[in-house]
């Protein structure tokens, strides 16, 4: 197993505001990594740096042992696929058309898909269960269905690395769990390296191997998901007291706000 992503002393700032400071971590091939932290801690910025949309102010990022800057836009798109928060496009493209766009980094001059390209598209439509609305316009789908389509597109891109920016944030419980199951199966069956920005620590603990916790003060912690997420860390980074429980193998956290009904009845930190 090699490191597929190597981040070293990464610094990034928008004009005067420092977002990331001296961030270093390595991600092994085939890891499912959760990136968590409060709003404004630089989670999305980190994703944009990893996919080459932003350039580091200092430090370096290597993908597959080569600096991100050394890739052409097309070659990088063969290494890294990105799923941003779902949105409705301007024109009425069908689901198949949207997923087919994933093959763009592999197409020739006039951009027509070959049989092999179509096979990738068909497979990802089936895996994500979006084949059922393949001919429908994205506008006619619900938010959860649309997000699945964008994940299907990322899978059809056939990249070793998958970056996701809050893939489940506006979705109902069924779609949240469905998407994490889907990502996990892509990790296990295809050996994909998955980095997902998430606010759902409980889902992250159940599905992710590693975790990167970014603090608003430019601090960070990186390691096994189980070790990184603890009620002390969560209280420190998010400023929220939690109750930590454990019924099966993994921990779970219950946030206890000031007016939460169990705020007084639970003292917290029981099973940690």
């Amino acid at each position: 197993m090699n490191s597929i992503i190597e981040v070293e002393n990464l610094n990034f700032s928008y004009s005067t505001r420092t977002i990331l400071k001296d961030l270093s971590f390595n991600v092994m091939q085939g890891t499912f990594l959760a990136i968590a932290g409060p709003n404004g801690a630089g989670k999305t910025t980190l994703l944009n740096l990893l996919c080459g949309l932003l350039r580091p102010k200092a430090g370096s990022i290597k993908i597959d042992a080569a600096y991100v800057e050394s890739y052409s836009i097309k070659n990088l798109a063969q290494k890294v696929a990105v799923v941003r928060q779902e949105f409705v496009p301007v024109f009425d493209f069908t689901v198949t058309e949207v997923v087919s766009m994933a093959r763009a980094p592999y197409l020739g001059t006039f951009g027509f898909e070959t049989k092999a390209d179509k096979k990738f598209v068909k497979e990802s439509l089936e895996v994500t269960d979006t084949a059922q609305f393949a001919t429908r316009s994205l506008k006619e789908l619900s938010g959860g269905e649309r997000q699945l389509v964008f994940i299907a597109r990322a899978l059809a891109q056939n990249t070793p690395i998958l970056l996701l920016d809050e893939p489940t944030s506006f979705l109902d419980l069924k779609h949240q769990v469905g998407i994490y199951d889907l990502l996990k199966s892509a990790q296990i069956e295809k050996g994909k390296t998955i980095l997902a920005v998430t606010h759902d620590i409980n889902l992250a603990i159940q599905y992710c191997d590693q975790a990167l916790l970014l603090g608003a003060d430019n601090s960070y912690r990186y390691g096994h998901a189980e070790g990184i997420f603890s009620s002390q860390q969560i209280e420190k980074v998010f400023g929220v007291r939690t109750f930590t429980g454990k019924v099966g193998l993994k921990k779970f956290f219950l946030p206890l706000g000031k007016f939460a009904k169990d705020n007084k009845t639970i003292s917290g930190e029981s099973a940690d």
């Binding site: 493209f93 058309e97 087919s100 766009m101 763009a104 980094p105």
Partner: protein, 343 residues
Amino acid sequence: MAATLTLKKLFFRVITCFILLVIIMTLCCFVGTQKVSFRNILSGPSDTPGENIDYEIFFGVRLPRVILAALVGAALACSGVVLQAILRNPLADPYILGISSGAGLGVIIAVLSGMTWSFWAGSPIAVFAFAGALITVWLVWCIGHLAGKSQVISLLLAGVVVNAFFSAVIMFLTSIAKSQQVYSTIFWLMGNITEKNIPVLWISASFIFAGIFGLFSLSHKLNILTFGEEEAKGLGVDTAKTKITAFGFAAFITAIAVSLSGLVGFVGLIIPHGVRMVLGPDHRQLLPVSAIIGSAFLVVADTLARIVVAPAQLPVGVITAITGGPFFLILLAKYTKKVSWLK
């Protein structure tokens, strides 16, 4: 699996549309104040000029004009397709965004300054038109960037202002021009298709075909660009290069269309919309089919312009604006209905 576009399917559809276009063009050559008989045309040119008048009208007068209308229609429709894709605005059109008037201003400057030099098929008119179109595209793009997310309306407003400004400059220039030039200039401004000689048609045709072919090679990237710059980069599209090339080609074919026929509006708006409604938004298909349908549309519009007030003639821009104006308003209402005006 859903029906995706294949090269074979595209080829078949383009050929079908093209046959349709040829039929329409032929029919339109028969329409006019002077009746021409089919038999006389088939009998070929006579040895003494003026004997077979039907043949001369058909091939010497009407056919060049119909071909010209087809070329202009194709160029404007394609320009509309590309502007809509890159600006991610379904209401973009070279006329509405002021690009046609930019090119028009270039033409007027060239005509009024009386320059006559030429190099490698580049007359001052064409060069100035291209420069005017490019500058306006650049202006509109900058404004589009500033406008950010509320693009749909602010970009249109910017277009209106650019348009008004250039029109004012054009009016100023025509009013200080010699009266002899004024009548033809004003007619030209309203979008006028007249008989041009054959070499001009050939040169323009090859330039417009080259431009459309260039745009076609970008068309799968245009699909992705409609999802925005971040998404496009993530899918391996060199966004800056693609945008600049596509804008360049669009400005180029718009400039040629404007220098041929003046300001013909709304073709670039109506045609892409119609084609998209029937065949979907895939630009690999939208672009060539829009070119052909745009040709057919303008050929028919120009034929109407020839016969509505016969024996006098209308500028074709009058016909396209009368049909296109209401169409534009309907689309505007459709795309802005989410905006609550009463807030």
